[in-house]
Assembly symmetry: C2
Homo-oligomer: 164 residues x 2
DNA sequence: TATTGTTATACTCTATAACTATA
DNA sequence: TATAGTTATAGAGTATAACAATA
């Protein structure tokens, strides 16, 4: 359990409940971080601890499954990862028999990464677990709000090329 | 610079440009992570590298400044940090002369944390830098959309008590 | 007994440098 | 000369255990 200091009021939920967020309020990075606390906890308790699958591993597994014959370079670039780290993660998944490396069709330097049957099965179970758990949280939003939130986040993410 | 693999198309911005996100699309944690790539880069280039201030340090500094006589326990609880880490961060800020620890009024175990003049000045500059940089990204959204995004993120964050 | 703050320490995740094989 | 993938390694950041002082 987590230590909670409740000076005079009881059971606060977010920083904004006790603290004055002041200048942080209109900062997108801060708002994203606060929201991420919730999704991280969901992932941790519903996927990481249950299926022994890290966030990155789940993402890689799912992207590889969805995009036949993806290369490590493509994955690294799109997930904003460095090449060495990408290699390490793929290695981990490979050692667990969740993905396999395969000779690239034309470029003999590159490798196609493919999911195994076990990998696909695990990814599927993970997706179901996350969606079910997130649905509970998302239920504080109306269906319209949920759609709106996803679209707005998508728009923000699409600015990636424009920064740095 | 960053390596970019452009097989047949040119200059992709997000994973969704090249890759099929498939089951990841409706996962809030993934969408938040993708959007966070943008805000992290902004913070890194506009604050961390310029003012030598980490994300956590900036947040702590600003919250302490905004909430007179905050204790470490309160900060840790509200930012979802462990107590030992909170102590280390406060220590770092203290050694740089940005915050000071002060005897608590009633509880002799606790300490009030206060910003110094230098701390307030740095926090102010950091806030200005972030807001200016984020404004460019946020300009892809209409004022109404910006407001909506912040409100929806706030709602998600407020579910923190409900998870774990 | 519980809580505040701290030290020591280990683990996870990410980044850089340097290398090979191929383009 | 550049790129794909890898190894080795160092650095952030975070977590757990154990402690002293106080409530």
């Amino acid at each position: 359990m987590k230590a909670r200091s409740t000076p005079t009021r009881q059971e606060p939920a977010t920083a904004s409940d006790i603290l004055d967020e002041g200048p942080l309020q209109p900062i997108l990075g801060y708002r994203l971080a606060q929201a991420t606390v919730v999704t991280n906890r969901i992932f941790e308790s519903q996927v990481a601890e249950v299926l022994d699958l890290r966030k990155v591993e789940y993402t890689v597994l799912t992207l590889v499954q969805q995009n036949e014959g993806l290369t490590a370079a493509q994955l690294a670039s799109e997930l904003a990862f460095t090449a060495p780290n990408m290699a390490a993660w793929i290695d981990r998944l490979s050692r667990r028999g969740l993905v396999e490396r395969e000779q690239h069709s034309r470029d003999r330097r590159a490798l196609h990464i493919r999911t195994t049957a076990a990998g696909r099965e695990l990814a599927k179970r993970a997706t179901q677990a996350i969606r079910a758990a997130e649905a509970q949280v998302l239920s504080v939003l109306s269906p319209g709000e949920q759609l709106m939130l996803f679209e707005l986040l998508q728009k923000v993410a699409s600015c990636r090329a424009q920064v740095k």
